[in-house]
Subunit: 139 residues, 2 copies
C-alpha cells in the first residue's frame, strides 16, 4: 500500500510528504470520489485546510486525480486511470452522484458517447454526470 502510494507520487515527480501520502491513500481506500470537505473531515487533525487545497490542485495538475462537475458547488475529485498525464486528462467514463447518500461513483463500464457539436465548437473534455439513486440506497 505505502509502496504503491509513493510509487505514484514519484512517477509524477512529486516529493513524498505526509500530506500527499495521506490524501492519496484516502482516495485508494474509499474508491469513490471525494470533495474537499470529505478530505478535510477525514484529515483535519493531521493537516491544515490550506494544505489540502494545494495538494488537490497539485494532483489535478499532475494528472493523478480529475475533477467531477456538480450542480451544488462542491466539486468532487477522483483518481485518474493510468493514461492521464500532466495537463492531459482522459477520463471519458460516466460519473454517478447519489442524491440520497451523496456518494460519487466512477462508472467505468460505460464510456461517454461521442457527440457532434455545431460548427466552430471544439471539444476538449466531455463530462457525463448522472444523478439519482445508487445501488446501495435503492430498495
Amino acid at each position: 500500500m505505502e509502496a504503491k502510494i509513493t510509487a505514484i507520487l514519484r512517477k509524477h515527480q512529486l516529493s513524498i510528504t505526509e500530506a500527499r501520502k495521506k490524501i492519496l491513500s484516502l482516495f485508494w481506500e474509499t474508491g469513490n470520489a471525494l470533495a474537499h470537505g470529505d478530505i478535510e473531515q477525514k484529515s483535519s487533525e493531521d493537516f491544515d485546510r490550506v494544505t489540502i487545497y494545494r495538494t488537490l490542485q497539485t494532483f489535478v495538475e499532475k494528472g493523478i486525480i480529475h475533477t467531477i462537475p456538480t450542480s451544488d458547488n462542491s466539486v468532487r475529485y477522483a483518481l485518474c486511470k493510468d493514461e492521464c498525464a500532466a495537463g492531459h486528462h482522459h477520463d471519458d467514463h460516466v460519473h454517478f452522484i447519489c442524491d440520497d447518500c451523496g456518494t460519487t461513483y466512477c462508472i467505468d463500464e460505460v464510456s461517454v458517447p461521442k457527440v457532434k457539436l455545431p460548427k466552430g465548437f471544439r471539444a476538449v473534455q466531455t463530462d457525463l454526470v448522472i444523478s439519482g439513486t445508487c445501488n446501495k440506497c435503492e430498495q
Copy 2:
C-alpha cells in the same frame, strides 16, 4: 419584452417584482447561461446579493431556469424550455463551456444520449457538459 417577462412569471404563479423582472430579462438578453456572479455584476446596484440568491433558487424550483454543473465551483443557470415545470426539469440537451471566454451555451441541436447503468443505479437526471473552444474564440 416586458410583457413576455411578466407572462412567464405569472404563468409560474410568481408575483411580479422588479428583481425578478430584471434577472429574468438578463437571461433573455444574454441568451447564454449565467453564474450568480455574472448576475451580481450586472445588477449589484439594483439589488442585494441575497435577493439574487433567493430569486435564482425560486426560478429553479419553479422550472424557469435549470442548473448546469461545472468543475470550478460556479454553477451556471440557463432558461428552461417550455416543457419544464416545477420540480420536473426536462433539459436533456448538451451544455458547452468555453475555456477561453467562459461563455456557457445550451446546445439545443444535440440531445443527451441514453446511458445504460449497472444494476441498482437509477438515473433521475443526466448532464452532459462539454468544455473546449467555442465558435467565437476559435480562429
